[in-house]
């Protein structure tokens, strides 16, 4: 009997912007139900990795597979399962907040229960009073909440979030984290790249990136124990892994 395929497989993925390497030989897998934190300094390659996984940017080498299908070979099919919310999402200028959700639900022929779920997301993010507003009338945080509501409404197998907590207020950030936990409990997965995590957020797994490479990848609790960290936070882990890498790269006195 075949072993179940991982939800996401990234094998030896590399990408370069001209002469500058953004990703170098990145490999990782994500199973169903995992909420994974992607941490790293600015320019570490986190956003590029997310864009490559979502097939927004083709990698120069390597392969990305979602449920065993190569993104490169079957982009359209794979796109059904993965959705990326970037840090500054664009919108349809002529549709209101509610019409964005209606349009997305209608285009995907979602079942009859979608208006209740859409309403739930609007309430969750405090957008219920802005249903008739155009995106141009929303603040940056509200626009981000609308993008998150659109993505969560479709319930993709893999949700890719680039800096989702940054533009949100602390209350909404915690609510988003709770929504992601519920999302994971349904057997769906999320790969979340962010610098600022809510205090309550402890992801299942952490992937630490630096200079386009994966420096550490494992269960958050295991990695924290390994680096002697308490309490467990993605930011603390990033600092510990980078400090260790700096010590290893220092020239020997001998």
């Amino acid at each position: 009997m075949d072993a179940p395929r991982p939800l996401l497989e990234v094998n030896g993925l590399s990408h370069a912007y001209g002469a500058v390497a953004a990703l170098t030989d990145v490999s990782l897998t994500i199973e169903g139900g995992e909420v994974v934190a992607l941490v790293g300094r600015n320019g570490a390659g986190k956003s590029t990795l997310l864009r490559c996984i979502a097939a927004w940017t083709p990698g120069t080498r390597g392969d990305v597979r979602i449920l065993g299908d190569s993104v490169r070979r079957n982009e359209r099919l794979v796109r059904r399962h993965a959705l990326l919310v970037p840090d500054t999402p664009p919108f349809w200028d002529d549709l209101t907040v509610w019409e964005h959700l209606r349009f997305v639900a209608g285009a995907h022929r979602l079942g009859g229960g979608w208006p209740d779920r859409a309403e739930e997301f609007l309430v969750l993010f405090g957008l219920e009073g802005r249903k008739e507003a155009f995106p141009a009338a929303l603040s940056r945080g509200m626009r981000h909440k609308l993008a998150l509501a659109m993505a969560l409404l479709l319930r993709p197998r893999l949700l890719l979030l680039d800096e989702p907590f940054g533009p949100l207020d602390p209350v909404s950030a915690v609510r988003l984290w709770e929504a992601l936990l519920a999302f994971g409990a349904e057997g769906r997965s999320a790969l979340v790249s962010c610098h600022q995590w809510p205090t309550e957020a402890v992801p299942d797994r952490c992937i630490v990136m630096e200079a386009g490479r994966v420096r550490a990848d494992g269960r958050t609790a295991d990695l924290s124990r390994q680096h002697g960290l308490a309490p467990v936070t993605p930011e603390g882990l990033l600092r510990a892994v980078l400090a260790e890498a700096a010590v290893q790269s220092e020239p020997s006195d001998v």
Binding site: P89, W92, D93, L95, T96, A107, E132, P135, A147, L154
Partner: protein, 496 residues
């Protein structure tokens, strides 16, 4: 007077900083002081001067040619002169409507911080802002008046009278518009922005009831252009001065908070600097955001599902954003022009001009919605259809509208040698080809920007059709070629 001094100093600083910025944009640093920098500065100055002199000489030459042609037909010259008063009244009505719709005084970000919030007399602020806009308001109308007098008259006296009267008329009309704008901003009706309808409705009524009064400024200009008036028109100059003084007096009661709000997206656009010229789409987006932010949703998204939702959404977008109708008109013009070129059977038709225009101007009227859907991968991932279905859904309705209007134009005025059905087929092919060229071109066709992939795709398609139809005299073959290219491009789009 004490308030004028800091304001004039601030304006001078802003002007000199803007000058330095634009010099830096063209690569010249006046502070560098090196010999090569000075030589480059001289070169820039000489180049700008040469362009201005050559451009002006070309315009004067064209005006002289038109003047010579008109000299032989006094009836045509007289008809042209008789249009001037109405044209002037139309421009004045437009200025009045714009000034009533939104504050004529616009503030940039530094103005909001340092002027609107400062304890300065508002009359001084209005006066300095009006003076700041005066040079272009004098120069451009004076140049147009000069050229118009060359066309209609010819002597040096005519030119001087035309230029001076046109400049005075521009100041008079602008001061009148500002006066009404300040009246609104000083009064209780400052938030009633529908007041722009008042001049649009009242001025034609005034022209009908009191033509002598309403058309007086335009008639003064027409007389100056025809050499029947002195160089200096004292009545017009006095009226312009009186209106300017009244405008400043009323401006001292204007509400700066409302002016700041009504400056709208100007601070953002001013902050773009050179980018506003190199990326007009950014300006367009800022304007669109500003317009949408304060607007209530008109109609509702129809209750449809799947791909049927796409044309419903496209129709809603065209209803909510009337600004899309102008590029749609441009697409219509190019289609009708194309039908004439391909089926006109006439030698000397400007087929090369049509090919150039079709390749250089992307079909933004038909393809704007598709463009937004495909350009942003975030939005594209929410649309579970292939590119061809998306193109049909997004561009189908506007393309149908352009096709129907093109056919109507073809029915009304078609070349005698061409059949009705060939015109319909040609219009349908041209509309489809333009939309498909946009779909296969990987770059976003934006307003005012060159996009080599679209130029290549459209240039090849329309170039081949034009060569087959005009130099090779085979319009039937051109249509067959067009149909084959539509099929190929549709296949490419579906498989993209």
């Amino acid at each position: 007077m004490s308030d004028l001094r800091p304001l004039l100093w601030l304006r001078w600083r802003q002007l000199s900083r803007a000058g330095l910025y634009w010099l830096a944009v063209v690569g010249y640093d006046p502070g560098a002081g090196a010999l090569m920098d000075r030589i480059y500065g001289f070169y820039v100055l000489a180049a700008v001067g040469a362009i201005a002199v050559v451009g002006w000489a070309g315009a004067v030459n064209a005006a002289q040619q038109m003047g010579r042609a008109l000299a032989g037909t006094p009836a045509a010259a007289s008809a042209l002169s008789s249009l001037v008063p109405g044209l002037v009244l139309g421009i004045q009505t437009l200025l009045l409507a714009v000034a009533m719709a939104s504050s004529p005084l616009k503030l940039t970000s530094p103005d909001v911080a340092h002027v609107a919030g400062a304890p300065l007399r508002r009359g001084a602020v209005v006066a300095v802002a009006f003076l700041r806009g005066l040079p272009p308001r004098l120069l451009v109308p004076a140049a147009i008046g000069d050229l118009a007098s060359i066309v209609l008259g010819g002597s040096l006296h005519y030119q001087a009278a035309g230029a001076v009267t046109a400049a005075a008329l521009a100041v008079f009309s602008t001061a009148l518009a500002w006066l009404l704008g300040m009246l609104r901003l000083a009064g209780a009706a400052r938030r009633r922005r529908r007041l722009w309808l008042v001049p649009v409705l009242a001025v034609p009524l005034l022209a009908w009831g009191l033509p002598g009064f309403a058309l007086w400024p335009g008639r003064a200009l027409a007389a100056a252009l025809a050499g029947q008036a002195p160089v200096w028109n004292p009545t017009l100059l006095l009226a312009a001065a009186a209106l300017s003084a009244g405008m400043v007096a009323l401006g001292s009661r204007a509400n700066m908070a409302v002016i700041t709000v009504e400056s709208g997206p100007l601070p953002q656009m001013a902050a773009l600097g050179a980018l506003a010229w190199t990326d007009p789409a950014a300006v367009r987006q800022i304007r669109l955001d500003a317009a949408q932010a304060g607007r209530r949703a008109r109609l509702a998204l129809p209750d449809a599902r799947g791909a049927a939702l796409l044309p419903a959404r496209a129709a809603l977008a065209y209803v909510r954003r009337l600004g899309l109708l102008l590029p749609l008109l441009r697409d219509l013009t190019l289609t009708v022009f194309g039908c004439w070129v391909l089926l006109g059977h006439g030698a000397g038709l400007p087929w090369f001009d049509w090919v150039f225009a079709s390749a250089a101007i992307p079909p933004r009227g038909v393809g704007d919605i598709f463009d937004a859907d495909t350009h942003e991968p975030f939005l594209r991932q929410f649309l579970p259809v292939d590119d061809l279905t998306l193109l049909l859904g997004d561009a189908g309705l506007p393309a149908l509208l352009v096709l129907l209007l093109s056919v109507a134009a073809w029915i009304v005025r078609r070349p005698l040698s061409a059949s009705l059905w060939s015109g319909i087929a040609c219009a349908a092919l041209l509309v489809a080809l333009r939309a498909l060229c946009q779909a296969v071109a990987p770059a976003r066709p934006r307003e005012g920007a060159w996009h080599p992939p679209f130029i290549a795709a459209a240039g090849v398609c329309f170039g081949l059709m034009a060569v087959a139809a005009v130099p090779a005299h085979a319009p039937g073959f051109a249509l067959e070629l067009g149909a084959a290219m539509v099929a190929v491009l549709a296949l490419v789009t579906a498989r993209a």
